[in-house]
Structure formats: C-alpha cells, structure tokens
Subunit: 607 residues, 2 copies
C-alpha cells in the first residue's frame, strides 16, 4: 500500500539553495520569526502529521466516503480525530496574524504545509483549506466586531469556513446568480437561495461553519454588478460570541463524485438565513476575488501533490516489479526478469512524473515569495505595493493553476500506467490519485478560464505583453551568462533564450491578430497557456540544474552528490523530452480561428 514520505530533501533544496528563502524571510516585515530553525520545525512537524496521521486515512477515506442523512454529514472514520490533532497542533494559524491567535508567519509556510497535507490526503486538506479563503475575506472586509467574533476560532481551526459562490445554473458566470438577501431592521440580512458544490459546506469536524456567501439585494442591478458579499454562520452567535441557535442554512445533499470522496461537497439551502454584509453593497464579486490569486495557487498545489504522490507510488513498484529482460541485455541475470526500472519507457514515465512534481514545486515556491510580499504589504497597509505584488502574482496564477493541474493529472495517470493492469484496481491506491487529481482542472476556474485570464486579461488587455517581457527578462538574465558554456547547462540556456524570444513573438503576433479578429484570444488561449507553462517550467528546471551544478562544483551542499546529479539529469530530460511539446502548442496557438469557428454548431454531429 502507498506510503507517503514528505519530500523534505527536495523542499529544502528549493528553500535553502535555489530560492534563498532565508534571505527572503529576512527581507519581510513579518519574516523575523521565520528563522531557519522555525522553518525546519514547521517542515518537520507538518511532515510528521502528514505521514503519520493524514496519509493513513487517504485510502480508507476514499473507500468510505462521506455520509449524509437528514442534513447531517459525517466524515469518514478517523477524520474527526485527525482534525482534532490538526487543531491541537495550531496548524491552521501558521500564517495568520498573532492578534487572532495565529503564529503570524509568512504565507509561504502555509503553502509548504498545505502541499504536504494535500499530498498525504487531499480530501482532508480541503476542510481546513476552505477556511483560509474565509479567514482572508473576513480579515479584509469584516468589521472589528465581526473579526473578534469569528476570527480567533477560525484561526484556531475550532470553526471552519466556506466560500459559497456556485449555483445550479452558474459556476463561472456568477452574474447569473439568484440567491437573494433582504435587509432586516437590525442591520442583518435574510438570505434565500440554494448553493451547490460547496466544499466543506457541511461536516462534523468543527463546532461551527462560517459561510461566505454571494447574494443579490432586491434592488441590485442585474449581472455581476449587483452581487454583495455576506457572512452566514451555521450557528448564530450570542452576544458573548458563544454558539447560539441554528441558522436557517441546511445541507440538502452531498455530491457523489469521481474522487476526493472524503471531502463533502454540499448543496446548501438558505431559507431566510441570517447573514451580515461584508464590504460595500454590490461590490461582492470584487471582494470575493480579492484573494483569488492565492486561492488559485492553493489549487495549483494539487497538481504537485498528485504528481508527487503518484511518483512515490510508481517508483518503488518500478524498482521491485520484474517483467521481461531489458532490450539492452540482462540487468539482473540471477532474477527471473529485470525490474521495470531498466526499461527506457518506464523511465520516461517516472522522469515525467518527477519533472512535473519537482518542476511544479519550484514554480509554486517561487510564486509563494511574491505572495509573501503581497501579504506583508497588506498587513503593513501599503496598498500600492500590495497591488503591485498582486499584479505580479497575477501573471503566475493562471499558468500555475492551469498548467500544473493539467500536468498533475498526466503524472497521476502515468503512475497508473507504470503499474499496468494493477494500476486500475483499488488496492494499490494509484487509481485514487488519478480520480482525486481529476477535479483540479475543473474547480477554482477550469483550465479554459485560466487560459482566458492569462492571455485575455493579463497578457493582452492588462499589459500588452509586458508581463511576458518582464518574465522573459528574468529568464534571459539567468540564461545569458550560461549561453556559451559547454555541457547541459549551456544547452538549456540557449534553449531558454530561443524560447524567450519565441514567447514574445507569439505574444506580439496574437496581440496584432486579436485587434482584427475577436475570436483570436479564445481560440489561442489554451495553447498559449500550455506553451507558457512549458517554457516557465523549463526556466525553473534550468535554475535547479544551475544551482545543482554550482554546488557539485563547489564540493557539495546540504544533499548528497547523487541528489544534485539527478537534478541536472532531470533538467536534461525535461529539455529533451517535455519542452518540445511547446512546439505543438505554438503551432496550435497560431492556427486560424476559422479552424475552430467555421463549422455551424448544428453540423457538429448529424445523425
């Protein structure tokens, strides 16, 4: 059975050697406490929780699923006890301010913790994960009294939170939403309507659930400009903030899903539930999306999680399972057959998984530094800096969410493939990873939505290509000094220089074309996203290879020499066998819009 081991070696390589997190933390106003010792303690502590408490519940949670009866949701056996341990360890509060009972550490530490938790047990991680969005929203938009009422117990994990957006008729297109909120004499609102797909919307882990809800006032304008934001607790609070009577929000059902079955996905019926407005009226959608970048990066992590877990499952199997002889000659002549690992195509699959897991991790840990600076600016009240960092992060977000989750699904499927037919049966845990991974390209904005956000909003409209120029500027500054060197690093650097030019060329061509063809953005967006992802991941692989080479030449770093050599090798693999996929996305992104749009919709299938 699959056994999770936190990839601490790789995490520390990125933190200490590639991305210089110690210096990064020293530069942050709220980074003083994030000393190397503190970071180590958090990594080790989270690893223990994940390996010993959460991972053992992953398969059983999937097999049992959540139970629903008469509005009550019961999580699978062991979840309640595990959540209690999570709360007792103070894990929810790592990156939240001390005034609300958190540890006040930079947001990135929450990312590292979430990655380990998500790999060990993604379904479990959804429950505290949804609270993060709720807490961030309250911190930004709640009154002082509301903060005092909700935040300490949310930050402690004693209560959990949700984000209630989707309704049956709309997910992406929230302008269609119908839930109504009517003002009451006491300043509260009565909410009526039904929300679907609410993760952690109802469960038995926490004493109270705080719902952040999008709804319309009676006189609100139609569409997205008539949406307001409300906080609706499952149990209303008494004046002393103790739990009062049950609010009129009830779980009508939970979904039967392909995967993440231990995560309750609720239909919530608001039948005149009492709520309180957050922020300004009719500005709810903006408020809800304030932390969209971080929320989406929280979902991007899932790609890394499932690539990592599937790799951890497939690698030992490939080392142990014996099948056929290597075409290049017997490798283990005293055995009945050679291990799978000797077959080049099995290595192709394993290296693809490794490249995705470790490359995706580097991308996310790098983006987490921007997120740290963004939250620091917010806490320091520096709105201008906050917006600048939010905008910088905004270029990474759709690439990370869209690209890494697509590749995470590929990696999960490759893990099954290494197992052959055994990958398809439940016993090995490999098929669960593929089912769990499948949601990641769908929720928190589908890949198609990320692609439109990237090419339409961020690259073309938002910056006329500047964000690509900025990022490739960074790539070129890294690549140029290596460009003339022999060996793998020189090759990678030259490839990155070409890709940087090509990426800007692609952007410019799409900018020009989109001015005269309004279908161009939508027609090219997916392939532009994937192209961008492959080039960006290439940069982060070269960065890792460069640091590994440097440390090897200098006689070593924290890890054994083999670790650094494998980094260089995997980077070579990536450039030789995965980066070429950028070529097909380049061609497809420049294909005519007619090739998509010319067919009459009624002709797509004539039976």
């Amino acid at each position: 059975m699959l056994k999770y081991q936190a990839p601490l070696r790789d995490m520390r390589f990125l933190l200490n050697e590639v991305l210089d997190y110690p210096a990064h933390y020293r530069s942050l106003p709220n980074g003083a406490d994030a000393t190397p010792e503190m970071v180590d303690a958090i990594l080790d502590g989270a690893a223990t929780l994940c390996e010993e408490v959460l991972a053992p519940l992953n398969a059983s949670g999937d097999a049992e699923g959540c139970h629903f009866k008469d509005g009550v949701v019961t999580t699978p056996a062991g979840f309640k006890e595990a959540y209690a341990q999570f709360v007792a360890g103070g894990w929810q509060g790592v990156s939240f301010p001390e005034e609300f009972g958190g540890q006040g550490l930079p947001m990135s530490l929450n990312v590292f913790k979430s990655e380990m938790m998500g790999t060990a047990n993604w379904s479990f991680t959804m429950y505290p994960g949804l609270s993060v969005g709720c807490i961030n929203t309250l911190m930004q938009y709640a009154s002082a009294e509301q903060k005092a009422a909700y935040l300490p117990r949310l930050v402690a994990g004693q209560w959990s939170g949700t984000m209630c957006l989707t309704e049956a008729q709309c997910g992406t297109d929230l302008g269609q939403l119908k839930t109504r909120a009517e003002a009451q004499a006491d300043g509260s609102y009565r909410l009526t309507g039904s929300k679907i797909f609410i993760s952690a919307g109802e469960h038995d882990l926490a004493e109270n659930i705080i719902h952040i809800v999008l709804a319309r006032l009676p006189d609100a304008p139609a569409g997205t400009r008539g949406i307001s934001l409300f906080v609706v607790p499952k149990f209303k609070l008494n004046a002393d903030h103790s739990l009062g009577e049950r609010n009129a929000v009830n779980c009508g059902a939970i979904e039967h899903k392909m995967g993440i079955r231990a995560s309750a996905t609720a239909t919530l019926n608001f039948d005149g539930a009492t709520g309180y407005m957050l922020g300004e009226q009719n500005k709810g959608l903006e408020a809800m999306f304030t932390f969209m970048n971080t929320a989406r990066i929280g979902t991007a992590i899932q790609g890394v999680c499932h690539a990592e877990l599937s790799f951890q499952g497939a690698l030992p199997y490939a080392l142990e399972r014996r099948s056929m002889r290597a075409l290049s000659g017997k490798k283990e002549p005293d055995q009945v057959a050679d291990a799978l690992i000797w077959h080049p195509d099995v290595r192709r699959m394993l290296l693809t998984q490794k490249a995705i897991a470790e490359g995706g991790r580097a991308m996310i840990y790098s983006a987490a530094q921007i997120a740290d600076k963004m939250f620091s600016s917010l806490l320091a009240g520096d709105q201008l800096k906050y917006e600048a960092y939010d905008s910088e992060l905004g270029f990474f977000t759709p690439i990370l969410k869209g690209f890494i989750t697509e590749l995470g699904l590929e990696a999960a499927n490759l893990g099954m493939q290494v197992f052959g037919g055994h990958g398809y049966i439940q016993d090995h845990g490999m098929e669960q990873i593929a089912r769990d991974a499948r949601i990641a390209t769908l929720y928190e904005g589908t890949t198609g939505i990320q692609a439109l956000d990237l090419l339409g909003r961020k690259v073309l409209l938002g910056s006329k290509g500047k964000c690509v120029r900025d990022f490739t500027g960074t790539v070129l500054r890294f690549a140029r000094p290596h460009a003339l060197s022999r060996g793998p690093l020189g090759k990678m650097a030259r490839s990155l220089i070409c890709r940087s030019l090509q990426w800007n060329l692609l952007t410019t061509r799409l900018l020009l074309r989109s001015a005269r063809d309004r279908e161009q953005v939508g027609a090219a967006s997916f392939d532009f996203l994937m192209y961008s992802g492959y080039v960006m991941m290439g940069y982060f692989w070269a960065l890792q290879a460069a640091k590994a080479s440097q440390l090897l030449a200098a006689g070593g770093g924290e890890a054994p020499a083999e670790f650094y050599q494998a980094k260089i090798d995997t980077a070579e693999f990536y450039f030789a066998r995965l980066l070429p996929r950028a070529n097909s996305h380049y061609a497809a992104a420049l294909a005519s819009t007619a090739s998509l749009m010319q067919t009459d919709k009624a002709s797509l299938r004539i039976n």
Copy 2:
C-alpha cells in the same frame, strides 16, 4: 442523463462512401451474404439493441457493480435480461461460420456491432467480447470433437468464454507463469494454479464458461517456450455434450476497479481442474497470440467508443448550458448568457473529441477490411495469404491499440472538461466514461508494449522500415494528385507528403541509431508510436475530407451537405491543431537515450 445514439450516419459514410465496403464485400469469398440490405439490417438492428437495451444499463451497472459471494458472481440488475436478448437476436454469431450456427458474415460486421455495443455499455460488451477470443482459438486449435462440443453453444452465446493468461507475478511477461498441467491417463490434464484479472471469468449470464488457459507441463522448458494451451470448462460436459459436473475452477474474488465496474474481473483458482490441450505442447503462447491482432483491434475500438460517447454527452451540454458572453460579441442577446458552444475553447474540446472519434473510427474500419481478408484466407485454407494479411494488419494493430486508446482517454477527459465541475459528479455520466476509458491503455498490452511491438518488432526488426514505406506509399499515392490544388485539401495533401517523408526519415534514423545503441528502441518507442498515430490519423482525415469534397462538388451523397462540410472542417481542425503534436513526438523520439538512462536508479528520489 446521457443518451446514446448510434452514429449510423458516420458509419455509413465510411462504409459506403469512403471505404467502399460494398465492393470490398463483393471481393470476399465469404462476403456474398453481406449485401447492402443485410449490412443495413445488421447496423439498424444492433443500433436498436444498443440504444434501447444496453445503453440504459450503463450508468446503473456502474453504480451497482458486480456482486461476489462464496464464489458466485452476480451481474448488475438487468444484465441477465439484456444478455438473453443479445443471445436471442443471434448477435454473438454474426461473423462466425454457419457450420457452428453463426451467420458466416465477414469479421468487420462484428467490429461495427462491437463498436456500437461498446459505446452503449462497455462493461456489458466485455462478456460476449471475451467469447470471441475463445471461439477463434477453438476454431483454430480444437479437435473436431472439441469443436462440436463447444462451438455451437459459444457461437449462440448460450455459453461464454475467457482467456486466462495473467497471474499475480506476471502479465506482460508470461514466461514467468506457474500454473501447472499434469497429464492424466485418459488424455485430459489436471490444472493447478491461480489466474488473475480474468475478464468475464465468472458471472451469471451464461450456462457455462469455457476458459482458454495457459499452463506448464511438468517437464516443460522454463520461460515462454514451456507454455501450453488448454481448454477448461466451468462445467464439464457429458458424452452427449450436456452439462456435467462442476469443474475444479473457482472464482476466488473479483477486483474493485476504477471503472468498467459492471464487468467482472475474476481471480480464478484451478485446483486440479480438468482441461484438454489445444494445439501442440509448449506452443501455447504462439497459439494464444494467433488472433492477437484482432483482439487488440477489439480493444482499440474502446478508444473510439469512449471518445464517441463522451462527445455525445458533451455536445448537447455545450449547446444548452449558458455561461458568459462570447468574447466576439453577444450571440444570443435575448438569453441570460451565450451557450458554451460559442466559446472557441469549448469548440476546441468538442472538435478534438469529434476528430478522435471519427478519425479513430475510420482507422479501425479500414483495418477491419484487412482483417476480413485475413479471416477469409484462413477459412479458405490459404495459409500464405493469411499470413500476409496478418502481417499487414500487424502494422496497424499497435498503432490502433496504442494511439487510439490514449486519445480516447483524452477525449473522455475533455468531455468532463466541457461540463466543468458538473463533469466530476456522477449524475451526468461523464466521469464514468473517463473511468471506463482508463483501462484501455493498460490491458491487452499497455501502450508501452504496443510501442515496443511497433517500433521494435514490426518496423525495425521485422521489416527494416518497409512497413512504414508501404503505408506512406499509400499516403503519397493519395496525396500527390491533390498536392497542387488550392483550398483545404491541397494544404492537407502537402502536409501529408511532408509527414510521409519525415516518418520515413525518422524510421531510418532510428534504424541506424538502434544498430549502435541498444537502448534506442525502448527510448524512442512511445514517441514513435504517437507520431505514427498522428500521421496515420491525418491520412484518414484527409481521405474523409477528399470524399466529402468530391460528393459536395458532385451535388451530394447519402448525407446532407452540412455533414460533408463538417467533415472537411474537422479535417482542417485536425491538421491545424492536432497534427502539430507530431512535432513534439518527433523531437522526443530523437532525444538522446542518455536523457532517460543516465540517472542511477537509486538517485531518482533521495529523501
């Protein structure tokens, strides 16, 4: 809920207009009965069975799964009645000889029927599907008496069959198998051992189950040269062929699988079970693989089935579900939002599904003509011709099985993606398709095994590239006359000419390299397979576009003009947006073997 409609229009376009099946049948010794009227009756009859009987059981069969208790397997509600209708309709016998009660029609008619059945309900189709391999094996290797005993009731569908190869320690590497067969005084054998992953190994649909089993004689040489083939009935037969006592073969368990849950995958324990040898001793593996090409094409169909079904689910959803406004301006201003179909990226997904389903269908229907000729030669006793056609089919087989099932999985996942979050919940049936489709790249030889078969056995060792030259010769003969013409067909033809040259170049380069690097074949095989698939599918799309253009120019064919226009459009889409993927596979196939092999296996992950 998903509703299956047999794609008769597309099937008839391929049969009557593109591939000229009427002439093909006239040329076959056993084709006289396959008149257009007979073919129509079979297509219509199978469509009705599939739409009305099998499709309605697809979701319920998945939800219920098979039951196992004390060695007895019960199929989901309705399966027994549906199977009875299948038997009553004589559907098992369509392509089997009249002397055994079949209709004696060409094998391709079984392919068309199987495709419809498999799309409607793949799990159900597995039961009679496994019988086909059993029947073919008995027809070739059984004695006259054995044929008389088994074949009439197998051909009628009253009994079903299995193929028992896999054991816990080996699937691909059958040389490792351990099941023993000991000769008895009466000429029978006693089989002892355990087989796993036996599809249709135990169930309640048929009165008897006839197992074809690989096992070793006590004095057999080790490895693949010591394997013999046996027939082992679940119920032994009395002298008059009536059912006798229960044989000592018992179902120990059924697997819990990611998908195809209504198909029972059994562990079979042979505890001194009585069996009878088929063919020569120690030649069992060859005998088992006699019909491997057709069996693998039977699995390739699954890629088409699930691409088709997922497309049939996604298209109406995209026409009905409304989300956002088209970036190119409001399309349905009187509606709350525009339908998904107006968004270019949704069209990209739908057209990819359509291209895979209809392109894969064309590839398989073309290969089925070779299979027809192969079986005709076999029936006519012309061994030389039989082997020539088998060898011709052998080039198509790994491409069809490997490439089409990989793309079928992609198409199934795209169908979920069109649904957004709704694709992930069970109600719409889309996630079941993705789960069911996932097995296709694993069983009947993984994609990696198909790739080795193609590049190693068929292309390099078997023909020094001749089979690529032969196939591209056909492509060039088709493409050259169109090469100078304007419009989409000329463009496709020129692209195919380039790809044909490139394919041969790739083959030659790999041939030269493999002479000095024994890792080359394994390192390039997957990407060579995918490259070959994309080019081959390109040819079959151009073929369809050419016929559609010709019919449009001539004022029409069987279908409405819009049908033909959509064919041309989809071919253009394929060449513009899917065929470019061949570029990345070309690059990866030529990447150094070191990029896969240089890393020490112990260094792939150092924690």
